[in-house]
């Protein structure tokens, strides 16, 4: 009996340890170290780490670029987020049938999501290119320095690219929700003659309450994770007008060798994600149908 227990426990340990060790060493411990490093100051791999308390944070708070970068993710969250949310919901509703058009859209809607984010970023740089881009080809002339070269337009252009690349994922999420709705509800819906917009407002929207919350939390997470799109499209330029926290973090780390500051920024980013996710979960907390029944 004891031998059997030993064998079982030995098996568990042997099978878990490679994953646990790798995860602990390269994901979990570095993650926790970020907070520790955010209170230190050092500028190289082997240079001495000095404890500086909240200095990195104080320094960052005075940094205008930090505020721009958080303002920019706020724009993504507050403007691009709702647009993605609504468009993907409507699109999911529109492709829930079995028509040929719906099938074609279902086959292609994840294309932007599945190709490399670098390809997406490069592609959009060319769409906005001042002399040879798609927009120029359509006869739409942008500002003199180009859409991405002008501070007042650049970040909105990034927003459009962000919406383009994100739409498919949320459409997939909502489509799955629509497809898993109970048959009886849909049949009752048909019998009552509710279709199109009416069906969307009275059935689809209320039935998707839990997925709406999932999607909203994902918008928050995805927005706060924005890095590659900005890094390749603009790298924060012009004049830091398109900067986002994670790209600024990599800038501090690579170009300025300010490892402490970069860690502080990462820590701040983490707490902002956490706070935003909690707020979003609170806003989308309740099943509206249940509330009425009670």
């Amino acid at each position: 009996m004891r031998a059997a227990r030993w064998r079982r426990n030995g098996f568990i340990v042997a099978f878990l340890s490679p994953a646990v060790l790798l995860y602990a060493f390269f994901v979990l411990i570095p993650f926790l170290q970020t907070f520790q490093l955010s209170f230190t100051s050092f500028s190289g791999v082997s240079s001495k780490r000095k404890f500086v308390g909240w200095e990195n944070y104080q320094y960052l708070f005075k940094d205008e670029v930090l505020w721009t970068s958080f303002k920019n993710v706020a724009i993504l969250l507050g403007v691009a987020g709702p647009i993605i949310f609504i468009l993907s919901l409507l699109l999911a509703h529109a492709i829930s049938g079995d028509s040929r058009g719906a099938k074609v859209i279902r086959a292609i809607y994840l294309f932007p999501q599945i190709i490399s984010i670098v390809a997406v970023a490069v592609l959009w740089r060319f769409i906005y290119h001042p002399t040879g881009g798609i927009l120029k080809g359509l006869g739409i002339h942008g500002p003199y320095d180009g859409w991405l070269g002008t501070s007042s337009t650049a970040f909105w252009c990034v927003c459009v690219a962000f919406i383009w690349v994100s739409l498919g994922f949320y459409t997939m999420l909502f489509s799955a929700g629509i497809r898993s709705m109970p048959r009886e509800v849909l049949e009752a819906c048909e019998l009552e003659g509710a279709r199109g917009w009416k069906k969307f407002a009275k059935v689809t929207w209320p039935m998707l309450f839990s997925l709406r919350r999932v999607a909203a939390v994902y918008v928050a997470i995805h927005v706060m994770a924005t890095f590659a799109l900005v890094n390749v499209m603009t790298d924060g330029n012009p004049a830091d007008s398109t900067q986002v926290p994670l790209n600024y973090m990599v800038y501090l780390m690579h170009r300025e060798s300010d490892f402490g500051g970069a860690s502080a920024l990462a820590a701040m980013n983490f707490f902002v994600v956490l706070a935003v996710s909690l707020v979003v979960m609170f806003l989308f907390r309740r099943n509206p149908e249940e509330g009425r029944a009670r």
Binding site: R8, L91, M172, A228, N231, V250
Partner: protein
């Protein structure tokens, strides 16, 4: 009227999604000057030399090989390691299981680049910085959360009776896993492998931070090439590079789109 609206939405979405990709493909066969002059014109001939230029002068060939090696090596390590852990978490009860599961799950919530500073320091200390094997190890570690999560789902769905029968027949735990469970879970492994494979092929964040420009992987190299070529006229090679990055992924996606969507959904809805 309603039908018309729906069809308008279909066409608009189709054009917005697919058209830019076709534009890239078309432009990859034009010479740089004519892309710049008339972005809408069909290519005059097939300028295959763009692909040659991308391969050699853009050094995309070397970085493509690096991306291929990292992707394959990562999958070769990730799938067995992930499957073993997922199986134990799906089938056995032990102290600390909830904590472990939660910790692995938590990894899917924060961006991999958040811990860039400590990971960079650790990699430098272990002589992993700017090496392919170092990148592979880091990739495996950061892909574990998703892999374990989706595979546990597959393992939980396999009826327990099969394993019990195998144990009665005298199979040990490990050989039950390798001989009975894994073959049944093969569809799950394929799905997870495909999805991870696409993500690894496309990966930018960690490759950017962990590799120097000379040893860049395909995605990073393409981004660098864009920065170098953007204000020069020779865009032909750049567009060819874009096609080289996108095409394999789109082909794989097209062949397995239902399964890949299934994996994405399983990872997304927890």
């Amino acid at each position: 009227m309603r039908k018309g609206l729906t069809w308008f939405a279909y066409v608009a979405f189709f054009v917005i999604t697919v058209f830019p990709l076709l534009w890239v493909l078309m432009s990859s066969f034009k010479d740089g000057a004519s892309i710049l002059r008339s972005p809408w014109e069909m290519p005059a001939g097939m300028a295959w030399e763009n692909y040659g230029n991308a391969w050699t002068t853009g050094k995309l060939g070397a970085s493509l090989v690096r991306s291929l090696i990292t992707t394959v090596a990562t999958l070769a390590l990730l799938l067995p390691i992930g499957a073993m852990a997922a199986y134990v978490l799906a089938r056995f009860t032990f102290k600390g299981k909830a904590f472990l599961t939660g910790t692995f799950l938590g990894g899917m919530m924060f961006p991999n680049i958040l811990a860039a500073v400590p990971v960079f320091l650790l990699a430098s200390k272990l002589k992993m910085y700017d090496t392919l094997w170092g990148l592979v190890i880091i990739y495996v570690a950061y892909s574990l959360s998703f892999t374990i999560f989706v595979l546990s789902g597959f393992f939980s769905a396999i009826p327990k009776e099969l394993e019990e029968a195998a144990v009665i027949d005298g199979c040990g735990y490990a050989s039950t896993f390798f001989r009975v469970v894994l073959p049944i879970a093969k569809p799950g492994l394929i799905v997870v492998g495909l999805f991870n494979g696409i993500g690894l092929w496309n990966e930018y964040n960690l490759a950017k931070v962990m590799m120097s420009a000379q040893n860049a992987t395909l995605s990073v190299n393409l981004a660098n090439l864009t920065n170098n070529q953007f204000y020069k006229a020779d865009w032909g090679a750049l567009f060819a590079g874009l096609v080289i990055v996108m095409l394999p992924v789109l082909v794989v996606y097209w062949l397995f789109k239902d399964r890949i969507q299934q994996a994405m959904l399983a990872g997304a809805i927890k």
